[in-house]
Symmetry: C2
Subunit: 151 residues, 2 copies
């Protein structure tokens, strides 16, 4: 039986917690196949990988594309604990992801419901179905706790 959205988001939360333990901004993501199997799971690793593009979403997209041997992740779904930034949103569009489910909204850095609103322009070639706010309280607490320890 396929997992529920909440179960996939729990997995993304786990990846976010691992990232926090490594001193990274705690964001985690899971990429799910059309059959409902997890193809990739990763946390943000910008600092530890010396890679400004290593957001959790980018990492699962790259991992899944390698695994599926295709740059297009047709009918795949992405679960992430924070609203994607414009970089990740455009990568989601480029990889033809079917559905994006995110937890916390990000008024400062988000590029889906805020800022660049990548999917809202007529030139956007592919728009996923978007669900925001699933388990946003849990994801928000994780981020808040992380930044509290940094101050």
């Amino acid at each position: 039986m396929s997992k529920t959205d909440a179960q996939f988001m729990e997995m993304a939360m786990t990846a976010a917690k691992v990232a926090a333990e490594e001193g990274e901004v705690p964001v985690g993501a899971v990429l799910v196949s059309p059959m409902g199997n997890v193809i990739a799971m990763a946390g943000n690793s910008v600092e530890s990988d010396d890679d400004p593009t290593a957001h959790a979403e980018m990492r699962v997209i790259r991992l899944a594309a390698k695994t599926l041997k295709s740059p297009r992740l047709l009918d795949c779904d992405l679960f992430v604990t924070l609203e994607p930034c414009a970089m990740c949103a455009q990568a989601i569009s480029l990889s033809r992801i079917r559905r994006l489910v995110f937890a916390a909204y990000d008024p400062k850095g988000g590029g889906v419901e805020h800022g660049a609103r990548v999917f809202s322009h007529p030139t956007c070639h592919h728009r996923p179905d978007v669900v925001g706010g699933l388990m946003e309280t849990d994801a928000g607490v994780l981020l808040k706790d992380f930044f509290a320890t940094k101050r």
Copy 2:
């Protein structure tokens, strides 16, 4: 003596031509250090790497960050033969690149002067200086020729 903008763009054009020979959309990029040295040079490799994020700009940013052992490319400049998409524009912002010089404008896929206009939002944390249109005719011809052979 440091190279001129046109010389760096010539190098990016060379990377774009190599990409075309490999069946990739011909876009090339060069990342230049604050001292004016080329740190990374790469072409688009989306298809050959099975990586939807492997645009030329992303590749040179990732390569340069690894080389400099830092996710922030302070005072570095990026030369690319096509206006960056929203993914690449946000990566440029995240990596704190000082100056972006691009050749051809991209009304359909661009995210700097078109579409998401990533640098134009109040929430954009870092905006590079932007120069568009340098050697745009040459870059445009390369892209046009490539797509002509695909039809």
